[in-house]
């Protein structure tokens, strides 16, 4: 429960909450990047440097931009949005709150949380690379396959088939 943790946590929660609450979709995405950055900072604080930086690269650099693009493409200038929230937003909010309550209860009531903080392991990129290449090589390969498939799939899905629509 250090001060830095509290600050980062607040930052993150604020960012994400804004991302989920703001009216303007682009603002939402921008706020979301703040939240992502906060999470990345938390990773760094936890000593997972590689993951943190990867988080920034992937989410801030790629996903956010992607979302922005999507918003731009699907944004109709003319229409004034009636409400950004869907018709059953109250029920949804209640459900979400219930989920949080239950999870919090679980966390609070669990004895399995470890009190002690083990010594900071030095995770050099070298080690991560070794682990990826030896112990986790199969998942890594599958991941590469998945990403390729996703890339092609995304292109195929999003491709504008003019000649068919005509």
């Amino acid at each position: 429960m250090t001060a830095s943790f509290l600050i980062l946590a607040l930052l993150t929660v604020a960012g994400t909450a804004a991302a989920m609450g703001l009216r303007n979709a682009v603002h939402c995405v921008l706020a979301l990047t703040l939240g992502f950055a906060g999470i990345a900072a938390l990773y760094l604080q936890l000593g997972a440097q590689f993951v943190g930086l990867a988080q920034i690269m992937v989410y801030v650099g790629a996903v956010a931009i992607l979302a922005v693009f999507a918003i731009m493409m699907t944004h109709k200038p003319g229409q004034a949005e009636a409400s950004v929230f869907s018709s059953h937003w109250i029920a949804g909010g209640v459900v979400a709150a219930a989920v949080f309550a239950v999870l919090a209860w679980a966390i609070a009531s669990s004895e399995a949380v470890f009190q002690l903080l083990p010594p900071q392991p030095d995770v050099t990129v070298q080690k991560i690379g070794d682990a990826l290449m030896h112990r986790f090589v199969l998942p890594l390969e599958i991941m590469g396959l998945l990403l390729t498939a996703a890339l092609i799939g995304a292109v195929v899905i999003a491709m504008d088939r003019k000649e068919e629509t005509k």
Binding site: S86, H88, A91, G92, V95, A96, A98, V99, V102, L103, W105, A106, S109
Partner: protein, 696 residues
């Protein structure tokens, strides 16, 4: 064991392999196909030479065979194998050599056909199967190759399947030979049942070796036949089917619809010879007896052969199609061979087989050359005067014709036929075969003369011929063939094989003269002794004289009828026909055998099928109808039960279910978020449940 014996399988395997490759080739790749087939044939021929030399080198040691287990059933091994003995060696040499010549010839003959590649594929397969028949040491292996031969002959006869006649002829050949093969199969099975092996020679355990032969000869079965004879007769049915003995000869003339090289290959060299070879192969079985008199099997063979010889020769007199004449003459010659086998043993029959193979191949290829020259014309009445246009063909054809007639001293046919007649005269059952053979020889000389005069003498009547046979003409794409202003000599690639064959047709007789019976002694594994004293042996000279006189008489008759004044026009009736119209027409229609079969067997078949049809219609159908009505009644009761008892309750159930479904479908709002809400609630419920589970 010698190398060649161990690798004898290569000889049939090579052409078969070539056929396999050729089957994969594209239609356009003609040259590779031909090169493949001919190359493989050359190799087989060389290997056959090696085998022959091997046998020639050591005629002392017995039959060399190589056997191997094919598969096991129960605790019995079904064994296959190949063997090498003088008979095999000679047949190998003959088949591969004649086959090779025919291959070369057909390059020229078929060069216009668009299915050139397919043709060579079939030819190679045919030759390979035939060679397989020759080397087989197991009746089963022989039977397999035998059937492949049947199949390929079907394919080759029906090669121009566009022609309905060709297709019909192919079917006919296939079915008729099948009828014979049925007997073959039965005999084979019976043989296996009796002597537990199908190998011919297996170091004393073979079916053709003394142990089993004595057993087979001793046991007698239905109508007093010995087992050996019974089985032999059954197998002879197969042989008769393949080599067109009466009454199964009907397919052979029709087979002329196929391309001429095929006719040559089938009739001269290989397929029909297969039957004779089969009998020669199982000769020990046929001849196995305890008494001294010839066995019933051999008598059957003799009589059938003799009848066939005369019968077919008579028909040949009345034919107009050049190839049909040769076909019938083939049938009669085969009859001679069978007769020779029956009366005189392997050597006599085989000797005629070999010589006949050469000169009949020569004749067929010559006929092919004639047809080719006359651009597809097959009717001898429309030919004539070809001597001027194709001299080489004329010469070689004349040689072949003289050899077939058995012109004295210089032609192989003379010696081989003479041997047969001589053996027939010494036959101690009856003299009839001898006289029949003599009469056949007379007829042979007669109809060959007739044919030659028709085809080559006089002046050309081809100009009058408008192609009334468009299908056949259609198979010569080259327009040069359609405008057949006057016939032309065939290219060298066709004439050279003819000349080679002609040389053999003349010289081959010299290895079988009574004075120096090299061939016979080779088959019997003795040293031939050259002694002109052999001529002075009783019965030799008279027979030679009589046969020569008969032949010359036949030639003169032929000249008298056809040579004296050349036939004027294509439409002018046959001189002999003028003499005896009705008899001649009977001959021309081949004794109405086909018509007879049509009237009896096929009619019977149709009648029987009608009966079956009627039976079906009324008896069975009635029964079925009644039963079905019964069931209909039951079904009606059942359905009423359904409609009034089952359905209401079931409908009620369905209605309630669908009502429930409608209620449930409210949750299926088609909105992701509602589903997501459900998932969230489920998660909550799950966690609560788990926590309470953890509590206690």
């Amino acid at each position: 064991m010698n190398w060649i014996v161990k690798n004898l399988w290569l000889i049939p395997a090579l052409p078969m392999f070539a056929a396999g490759i050729g089957a994969l080739l594209k239609q356009r790749s003609r040259v590779p196909a031909a090169c493949l087939a001919i190359g493989s044939m050359v190799l087989s021929f060389l290997l056959s030479l090696v085998a022959f030399a091997h046998v020639l080198g050591n005629r002392a040691n017995g039959i060399e065979s190589f056997n191997f287990g094919w598969f096991q059933f129960g605790n019995e091994w079904l064994k296959l194998g190949w063997m090498l003995d003088p008979l095999t060696a000679v047949m190998l040499l003959m088949v591969s050599f004649v086959g090779l010549l025919i291959f070369v010839y057909s390059v020229g003959y078929m060069h216009d056909d668009e299915n050139f590649t397919r043709f060579f594929c079939f030819l190679a397969l045919f030759a390979g199967a035939m060679l397989g028949v020759v080397i087989a040491n197991s009746l089963l292996l022989l039977f397999m190759c035998w059937e492949i031969v049947g199949l390929t002959s079907y394919l080759l006869i029906g090669f121009w399947y566009a022609k309905p006649e060709a297709a019909a002829a192919a079917k006919k050949a296939f079915i008729v030979t099948r009828i014979g093969d049925l007997g073959f199969l039965l005999g084979m099975v019976w043989l296996y049942a009796q002597s537990h092996t199908l190998l011919f020679y297996d170091a004393g355990a073979g079916a053709l070796e003394s142990a089993s032969l004595t057993h087979l000869a001793a046991r007698t079965t239905v109508l007093g036949l010995s087992l050996a004879s019974a089985i032999g007769i059954l197998i002879f049915c197969g042989a008769a089917g393949k080599s067109g003995q009466v009454p199964l000869h009907v397919w052979l003339p029709d087979a002329m619809e196929g391309p001429t090289p095929v006719s040559a290959l089938i009739h001269a060299a290989t397929m029909v010879a297969a039957g004779v070879f089969l009998i020669a192969r199982i000769y020990p079985l046929m001849a196995a007896t305890v008494s001294l008199t010839p066995t019933v099997a051999l008598q059957v063979v003799t009589w059938v052969g003799a009848i066939t010889a005369v019968f077919a020769a008579l028909i040949a007199v009345g034919q107009y199609d050049i190839k049909r004449i040769l076909a019938y003459s083939t049938v009669s010659q085969l009859g001679y061979m069978m007769m020779g086998l029956g009366v005189g043993g392997v050597a006599v029959g085989m000797f005629h087989l070999i010589t006949h193979a050469f000169f009949k191949a020569l004749l067929f290829l010559g006929a092919g050359s004639v047809i080719h020259g006359c651009s597809g014309e097959q009717d001898i009445r429309r030919m004539g005067g070809l001597r001027k246009y194709m001299p080489i063909t004329f010469l070689v054809y004349a040689v072949g014709m003289l050899a077939l007639c058995g012109f004295p001293l210089f032609f192989s046919g003379f010696w081989s036929k003479d041997a047969i007649l001589h053996a027939a005269r010494d036959w101690n059952i009856s003299q009839a075969p001898f006289y029949m053979g003599a009469f056949g020889a007379l007829l042979t000389a007669f109809y060959m003369t007739r044919q030659v005069y028709y085809v080559f003498a006089g002046n050309s009547r081809l100009a009058a011929s408008s192609h009334d046979d468009p299908q056949l003409a259609a198979h010569f794409e080259d327009p040069a063939h359609h405008v057949a202003a006057h016939p032309h000599e065939s290219p060298a690639i066709m004439t050279v094989p003819l000349m080679i064959l002609a040389a053999f047709a003349m010289l081959l007789g010299l290895i079988g003269t009574p004075a120096w019976p090299w061939f016979q002694s080779f088959l019997d594994r003795q040293q031939p002794i050259l002694s002109f004293a052999a001529f002075s042996a009783p019965g030799i000279i008279p027979v030679m004289l009589s046969s020569s006189t008969i032949v010359i008489l036949g030639l003169i008759l032929g000249w008298y009828f056809y040579g004296r004044k050349p036939i004027a026009t294509a439409e002018s009736p046959d001189p002999l026909g003028k003499l005896q119209p009705q008899i001649f027409s009977i001959l021309g229609h081949a004794f109405y055998v086909d018509a007879f079969y049509g009237a009896t067997l096929i009619r019977l078949n149709t009648i029987w099928s009608r009966v079956c049809d009627w039976f079906d219609r009324f008896v069975w159908n009635g029964a079925v109808q009644t039963i079905s009505y019964l069931f209909l009644g039951v079904a009606w009761i059942d359905s009423s039960f359904d409609t009034y008892v089952v359905n209401p309750s079931f409908d009620g159930g369905c209605a309630s279910v669908s009502r429930g479904g409608r209620i449930l479908s409210l949750f299926q709002g088609g909105r992701i978020q509602s589903y997501l809400r459900m998932i969230g609630l489920a998660l909550v419920a799950l966690v609560i449940f788990l926590l309470w589970g953890a509590k206690r």
